[in-house]
């Protein structure tokens, strides 16, 4: 092996590390800015044009938000939508996936096709809206909870996972007098726990982040989730807060703090996600 080759390898390696570092910093920068800014006192925005780390730490922006009844209400709404919504998602998806994993089931292929077809062709926004309207679900959280109750993609992946459970295990459980419901809850679910945790997290994230469903189906401003409030606050630059909330002045840090509070739940669940989600899970499930 020539000396030249070795040098070329070293250079290439250096180049790769350098490039990756630059990309990572660029990706992280906006979030670092938001975090730094949210902790800065009002004065710092006047004296410094651009900063990532504030010289002084101030929690005024967070105090301001947690004193605002609008913000607290939106936070509460988001928690309700996400909590109950995810429960409905997991209940509906798990039951259906488990049922469809039974290869002997009469009528299985028809239902499978029914699910697959919805992934290819949908009625679109307006007919769905009219259905929700005709069911009297407008302006109720049930519209959001029910309209997205099952993600066909997760359903299919989950069905594959349940299908992987060895038949012998099932037969043995049946010998012991286990019914289908007990089979699901005492054998299938514990076996698929890492995958279930991952699906739960995906559903949580999509509810927490969802914006369009809320503006489509909800009209009452008091029912709006955090994402809608965030848009009014930042993108529309609406100043809808009470002018004097507990003597804390509005500053540029407030929108940044609102962004951080919106992201924090995701940061909390991230370690769990990393624990359960890995390439193996993704590959193993897609192959089926």
């Amino acid at each position: 092996m020539s000396k030249f080759k070795l040098n070329e390898d070293k250079l290439f390696s250096f180049f790769v590390y350098f490039l990756i570092t630059v990309i990572t910093i660029l990706v992280a920068l906006p979030l670092v800015y938001v975090l730094g800014g949210s902790l800065a006192p009002r004065s710092e925005f006047v004296t410094r044009n651009f900063f990532l780390i504030p010289k002084e730490i101030s929690l005024d922006a967070y105090k301001y938000l947690f004193n605002s009844s609008e913000f607290l209400n939106a936070l509460k709404n988001s928690i309700i939508i996400t909590g109950i919504g995810t429960f409905i998602n997991m209940l509906f998806t798990t039951l259906m996936a488990y049922g469809l994993s039974k290869r002997w089931l009469v009528g299985r292929s028809i239902i499978n096709f029914m699910v697959l077809f919805t992934m290819l062709f949908s009625g679109g926004m307006i007919p769905l809206y009219l259905i929700v309207n005709n069911l009297g679900l407008l302006d109720s959280y049930w519209s959001i909870w029910l309209v997205g109750a099952i993600s066909p993609f997760y359903l299919i992946v989950m069905r594959g996972l349940f299908g992987n459970i060895p038949d012998e295990l099932e037969e043995a459980a049946k010998m012991d007098g286990c019914g289908e419901w007990r089979l699901l809850f005492s054998i299938a679910l514990p076996l698929a726990r890492p995958a279930m945790a991952t699906f739960t997290i995906f559903y949580i994230v999509s509810h927490w982040n969802s914006y369009f469903d809320a503006i489509l189906y909800l009209h009452d401003q008091d029912k709006m989730p955090l994402q809608v409030l965030l848009r009014r606050l930042i993108i529309m630059e609406e100043d809808f807060f009470d002018p004097h909330i507990a003597d804390i002045a509005f500053s540029q840090a407030v929108p940044l703090a609102a962004i951080i509070i919106t992201i924090v739940p995701l940061i909390i669940i991230f370690p769990f996600f990393q624990k359960y989600f890995n390439k193996g899970f993704l590959l193993g499930s897609v192959k089926d």
Binding site: F12, L19, T21, L105, F121, P127, E237, Q274, K279
Partner: protein, 324 residues
Amino acid sequence: MGNRFKKTAKPIQTASIPKVKNAREKRKKMIKRGLPIYLMLLPGVLYFLIFNYGPLIGLTVAFMEYDPFQGFLNSEWVGLEHFRRLFEERIFLDLLSNTLILGIYDIIFYFPAPIILALLLNEIRLRWFKSSVQTILYTPHFVSWVVIVGITAVLFSTQTGAVNNLLENNGYNRIELLTDSQYFRPLWVIHNIWNGMGWDAIIYLAAMSSVNPELYHAARVDGASRIQMTWHITLPSIMYVVIIMLILRMGGFMDLSYTHILLLQNPLNLNVSEVFDTYIYRAGILGGQFGYTTAVGLFKSMVGLILVMVANTIAKRMGKEGVY
């Protein structure tokens, strides 16, 4: 309960003379055995019927002058009137070209990003470095569009935005990133890259991890440099995944994330940012033209379906032959 099924299952397999009767009986038994399962399927099936197949029936609205007060049954039929109107409207060409241009931007600028990232990450040998970098890079995937557009709005706010302050201090002009229509498409692509690059790299990394290590050993013996190995081994090995992803992405280009686009929209950039779904929302939900926008949606779904089917057919053919 399980015992009974096992006992009854066996004789059916062995006895072969009264075939028809046995087949019917077996079917009956299987249905009976499936009763608890059907109960489990019930909520899901109802969900699909009401919220996925209901709207399919609701597509008939595309041929009606739908009046919310008259309902589905009493609204007036207008035939293909709405479709004629769509094809005659000036906006139709705008919608088509905006969708097409965004799709092209996506393929040219977004599509290579996760591949390049995965190729780079694949060269990283330090475990801790790789895993922490990957964590940072796929975090944005979990950040909502509201937050992404929100951060952009804060950074580029015309009066107080930090980036604009920075630009001005260095002698440049402040830029109106969100309101000036010339920035809409680049911004849209940059958002997509920030949001999806790290996440989408996962599938390519997975494909790379299944490359036979013997190939690298052999190449090393032959004196190949790492850059040569990347070019001649890694890249060709993942090529079929790249091609399949490319085809699928092109097949899905009618399905732009309209939440993202809607958030980026304002009256000043509508000429470049209006796509089918945002138009449907504006004219249908906000404007109350339910029949007309259902027709627009049906047109969009049909084109989308055709694209996806063509893409799938090509991908399947590639899958058979294109694997190295």
